[in-house]
């Protein structure tokens, strides 16, 4: 069991980021992060809206089985329909926070940490794609998908 630091967005970055600089640490046990990053569970309704947002969360670019219109969903990744019945909340949380910890070659971006990619464009440098709050909202929504 080790501790990792989750960097969430610093302020200044516009509406998609928390107006606070937050550094949250989390514990990985097995293939899961059992505890909510924010200390409390997220809001599934907000999560549903976030997941459908093609420019902020980008989930539907790759995944199907979500709330977005079918013709706008991608097929590069497994369907998330019924994901809440297949994975525990903690397993879902780790996958959204850092899929590459489980599969270093995964296509899925790291949402709860700083991207390792080259040439990260100015506004995104040193920032996570989603804040801890946004991740918890998304986790709450995915947990509700019992299919």
């Amino acid at each position: 069991m080790r501790r990792f630091v989750l960097l969430t967005a610093l302020l200044l970055a516009g509406p998609s980021f928390d107006a606070q600089a937050v550094a949250t640490s989390y514990e990985i046990e097995g293939d899961a992060i059992a505890e909510p990053l924010t200390g409390h569970e997220g809001d599934a309704e907000r999560g549903a809206a976030l997941v459908a947002d093609r420019t902020l969360s980008l989930c539907v670019l790759c995944h199907s089985g979500l709330v977005a219109p079918v013709h706008m969903q991608g097929n590069l990744a497994p369907s998330l329909a019924g994901i809440g019945g297949r994975l525990t909340p903690g397993q879902i949380r780790l996958r959204v926070v850092d899929m590459k910890r489980l599969n270093p070659d995964s296509l899925m971006p790291v949402y709860g940490g700083v991207a390792p990619g080259a040439r990260v464009a100015g506004p995104w440098q040193g920032k996570a794609i989603l804040t801890a709050d946004e991740i918890e909202d998304i986790v709450a929504y995915l947990v509700s998908l019992k299919g």
Binding site: Q73, R86, D105, A118, R119
Partner: protein, 259 residues
């Protein structure tokens, strides 16, 4: 634990299998037009409906226009484009002896302007450069992409391939993640395609105008939240040189039409 193990047991090999089974090496290169809707295909195929033809017609005028301190036109040196420019776009980027570097068609036209016309270089995405590259490219329409077996292009091609496979941007994706491993997939609603370069410059409905291959590559880089290379950067010429080797045999479609 179990479900997760099962999931990775399934998902990861599936992705691996996808990249092996659909890698372009194994099959034929496929033009982006093959993934487009029937309407878009019809628009590209019909010269009276293809908006790119306006740029070709403008380019024809510019070909004959005397420019710069030398007061020479392209045609004064090259004669009729239908003969002298046939097949040129199919084998670019090429190696330029004087600079000792790979040069793309846009770069070559600007070299002609500075060296032979004693004129200023044209802006990369300006109306005039797009018209000239569309006109020159049009002279190769239907001919197979034929990157030359010139060993001096090897370093640029190798650099291009390295860039193509490098993960970049906040989304940490490489060109190859999409255009090699997942070209048969859909990103959101859009077919990803093989990212082939055989139809440029082309008319993109989303742009409501003609754009260069570099403009398209910049859009993909911005999409993964990477800092795009500047227009005309050696990195882009290297990517173009690599893309040309992947496109070998595909017919030149200039000016193509894409969604």
């Amino acid at each position: 634990m179990r479900p997760a193990v099962r999931c990775f047991g399934l998902a990861a090999p599936l992705l691996l299998a996808a990249s092996v089974a659909h890698g372009i090496e194994q099959g034929e290169p496929r033009s982006g037009i093959a993934f487009a809707s029937p309407e878009t295909r019809a628009m590209q195929a019909d010269d009276t409906a293809n908006p790119g033809l306006f740029w070709v017609l403008d380019g024809e005028q510019l070909w004959a226009k005397r420019e710069g301190a030398a007061q020479k036109s392209c045609g004064d040196c090259h004669g009729a484009a239908s003969a002298s420019m046939k097949g040129i776009a199919a084998r670019y980027p090429a190696f330029d002896d004087k600079t000792g570097q790979a040069v793309d068609l846009t770069g070559r036209i600007n070299l002609c302007r500075t060296r032979h016309q004693q004129a200023t270089p044209l802006p990369h995405e300006g109306k005039e450069m797009l018209a000239l590259t569309a006109f020159v490219g049009f002279q190769s329409r239907g001919l197979p992409m034929a990157p030359p077996a010139d060993p001096r292009l090897a370093p640029a091609r190798a650099q291009g391939e390295a860039l193509f496979t490098q993960r970049m941007g906040q989304l940490d994706l490489s060109c190859a993640n999409c255009h090699e491993a997942n070209w048969q997939g859909r990103l959101g609603g859009s077919p990803i395609t093989q990212g082939q370069s055989n139809a440029y410059p082309l008319y993109r409905l989303e742009w409501q105008g003609l754009g260069s291959l570099q403009r398209r590559m910049r859009a993909c880089m911005v999409g993964v939240r990477a800092e795009p290379f500047d227009y005309g950067a050696p990195e882009f010429v290297a990517l173009e040189a690599f893309l040309a080797t992947r496109a070998k045999g595909l017919p030149v479609e200039t000016p193509g039409v894409r969604p």
